[in-house]
């Protein structure tokens, strides 16, 4: 565990504190269908981040007055477990968690075809069990898989990744120390196949050229992550479909 202020964030070989190249993602592990009760669920590990997402719905909404006549309502909660960080996190929802819940919901809204289920709710619960930077992006990646797992129609998967600047370099997928002691962090969410941005935030300091470089790098990261998302979905469902050769849904009835 590295404690305190790191001397430098990029070493003489151009490598980062965890040995990555500037444009390298952390190792990512994705699992789908990990919870018994949820209609859809997914788990992501990205470096030390460990995040679990459960989706319930579409289901009846309570209180009833929150329903919308022409579409399903999305409800999203991003929550950090009290034990997820170095210092214990107070379990009461922080302003940061409230803001992140909102931007994650807004990152998923353009993808979910909510018009198919008017007057219902789709609940998305994101539990950050261990946090090491970039949890909102990892949460979006897992949430979009959990939505797909729940069979909810979507225009595209939402893929998400951050880029930023640390040690004078533009870098991909910042982990906690790089976020804290670096110069800038920019989380991006992209619907890759439609080429549409659904989340963009930035804090720090980037000149317009650096901004462009980081933005392009983050989108490239999203494209790589989409590949992993599709792989995870296929791994989850291919077994069901092709346990013994080709399917035979031609034999199906109505």
């Amino acid at each position: 565990m590295i404690k305190g202020y790191p001397e430098r964030l990029i070493d003489e070989n151009g490598l980062r504190l965890d040995g990555r190249r500037p444009d390298e993602l952390r190792p990512i592990k994705l699992e789908i269908g990990v919870l018994g009760n949820a209609d859809g669920s997914a788990y992501i590990e990205q470096g030390k981040n460990k995040i679990l997402v459960g989706v319930y719905g579409p289901r009846e909404i309570h209180p009833k007055h929150a329903e919308l006549p022409n579409r399903a309502v999305l409800r999203c909660r991003y929550r950090m477990a009290p034990f997820s960080t170095e210092e214990r996190k107070n379990p009461a929802p922080s302003r940061r968690e409230i803001e992140i819940s909102k931007v994650i919901r807004e990152a998923l809204e353009p993808a979910v075809m909510s018009e198919y289920y008017p007057r219902t709710v789709i609940d998305i619960f994101i539990e950050a069990l261990q946090c090491d930077g970039g949890t909102r992006c990892a949460g979006i990646v897992a949430a979009s898989l959990a939505l797909a797992d729940a069979g909810i129609p979507m225009r595209d998967l939402v893929s998400s990744c951050s880029a930023g600047k640390a040690g004078g370099e533009i870098i991909l997928d910042l982990f906690d120390l790089e976020d804290k002691y670096g110069d800038a962090d920019m989380p991006v969410a992209l619907m890759v196949n439609l080429n549409m941005i659904t989340l963009l935030q930035m804090d720090g300091k980037l000149n317009p050229m650096e901004f462009e470089k980081a933005f392009t790098m983050a989108m490239e990261g999203c494209r790589k992550i989409r590949g992993l998302q599709v792989e995870a979905l296929k791994k989850r469902y291919q077994g069901i479909v092709e346990r013994e050769g080709t399917s035979e849904f031609d034999e199906e009835g109505t």
Binding site: R95, E99, K102, L194, M196, I197, N207
Partner: protein, 270 residues
Amino acid sequence: MSITPKPSITSILEQNLIMELAAKSRRVDGRSLTDYREIRIERGIIEKANGSAQVSIGKTKVMAGVKLELGEPFPDTPDEGVLTVNAEFTPIASPTFELGPPGENSIELARIVDRNLRESKAVDLKKLCITPGKKVFIVFIDINILNHDGNLIDASTYAALAALLNTKMSNFEVNDGEVIFKDGNQPLPMNNYPVPVTFAKIGRALMVDPQLQEEDIMSTRLTIGVDKDGCICAVQKGGMGELEPDDIRNAVGLAVEKSKELRTLIIGGS
């Protein structure tokens, strides 16, 4: 829990009008896509605050007040003063604002203002340290929305910045860890002047400073904060829609230009 909000209903007739105009790079109130409404700034209107300002953008009206208090620093920044931003959506400002604890919109607003000021290092917090790890000045910025006619993010940040520039703190000296206040005032030590530029996407058009009617039908909102060096210091996409990558590139370019004239206006006269 963040929940899909109930949309405010704009008549289809008005929606169509705004969309059709946007497609021709025009707007209902005759502005171009890159024009702000008239901005007015009044400074020092609350004598009991250390600093204050009221900013109007068109009919939107926001007041910001600054209060300084002594307190403890954060453990991870023991040698820096503390900056906190709070925003109240008071029910007098809009029929859609309700009483109760701050909702996600006011929290998001406060955090965007905070991000602009913090990331650009607007206030020189190092100069607000008295005894490292023990005693520092806390800068409370409280934002009161008085009338909501769109673009609260820009109005609030301009008001906060103008209030900081208007802030007077007593002269003081530190004796054995104790603060002794003396006669006379000094301005708050400032390093930077972040200026956000907020865009609304309507149809395929991107327009600055959306008024309420435009916000009600916009698909997406995008705020680009630019510091005095022309660097980007804070960005936030909001709303339930999406943006093309080129929208963001265009917005960044435009925000860098636009922020220069806005900064002159906000600093000028302080």
